[in-house]
Symmetry: C2
Subunit: 204 residues, 2 copies
């Protein structure tokens, strides 16, 4: 009997560095990455089933109503969601899954799939967030202030998570995520079969 | 405010390799090791407070009656126990503690200190245990059989633990223990202060 895969969620306020950390984690960890679904139009070069599953708003709503998403949300009038079935299939195949989603989505995933393991990523402090956002150069001072205010509001969501990882250094941070993945695999509840079959499987 | 230390227990059936794994873990991890107490006489070269705290059986019983041990047991007519206060002191100092004790003791520690994190160490199979015991050359065939029977009986105790580590290779196994230590430090419940103080501590 195959061991089932585990569902991890890497989340945190916008600006915490989820994408960069996940990229670093994937250099050594084999993880199944979920492809999100959306009702927005494909941008130049985006492929259906690769960047997103693209649906019409009507089709998206239909799938959502049928429970086809582990979580979904609307942003600027477009739907975004995490398709349920591909994740359940990967779990059955014994693959570990990583979802990179916002904190509202993360908490919704946990409600739908209580075994999901939520990892909250944050910058060590506001100064570091500011440095990072200014470095990007995509926000004017007004937007910057809004972003920082939102960030501070969102931090509290972390209390609903399982783990906190402080993003002060990408490599150290990725090592933390990898430690969490390993530790979760070692949990007794994920190894009951080994214990119960120890005698039968191993004749001396 | 200092973060409190965590209490880890490395345990498993006799022959699983606890001592060797712990030695490997200590090459990179700074852990507070508990000194056990015993009512048996010191052997040649053993020092009080270093190898054990040596007590008379009467004094041991007195301390036990006063709740001075996190767990204690008798083996071949001698008491062995884990003194409570030095561990609670190390927790307050923010040091992570590692106890290397048998599985009865491990479960008793959890009952007394529910935040303790129990790691169960086992050989991958009975064949490997046999190889290891024969390698030591300290048991005759009769004793060997008894040891193996006890080992198989003890495996079921693992269901009461938090983590299972399979000792197929000492270095990999030590890496697993280190991943568990790291992951436990990252748990939200051990980082509530960071989240609650995020705004106050960090003025931009």
């Amino acid at each position: 009997m195959n061991k089932k895969g585990l569902v991890f969620v890497l989340s945190g306020p916008s600006g915490s560095g989820k994408g960069t950390v996940l990229e670093e984690v994937l250099k050594t960890e084999k993880l199944y990455l979920s492809v999100s679904a959306t009702s927005r139009r494909p941008r130049e070069g985006e492929k259906d089933g690769v960047n997103y599953y693209f649906y019409t708003p009507e089709r998206f709503s239909e799938i959502a109503a049928g429970g086809g998403f582990l979580e979904y949300t609307t942003t600027y009038g477009n739907f975004y969601g995490t398709p349920r079935q591909p994740i359940l299939d990967a779990v059955e195949r014994g693959e570990n899954i990583m979802l990179e989603i916002d904190s509202v989505g993360a908490v919704n995933v946990k409600a739908e799939y209580p075994d999901a393991i939520l990892i909250f990523l944050v910058t060590p402090n506001v100064a570091e967030l500011k440095r990072r956002l200014i470095g990007r150069g995509t926000e004017d001072p007004e937007q910057l202030k809004t972003r920082i205010d939102c960030y501070i509001d969102e931090i509290k969501a972390g209390l609903k998570y399982d783990y906190l990882v402080i993003n002060d250094d990408v490599k150290r941070c990725a090592a933390d995520v990898i430690a969490i993945i390993r530790a979760e695999q070692l949990k007794i509840k994920n190894n009951i079969g080994f214990i119960n079959n120890f005698k039968g499987d191993n004749i001396c």
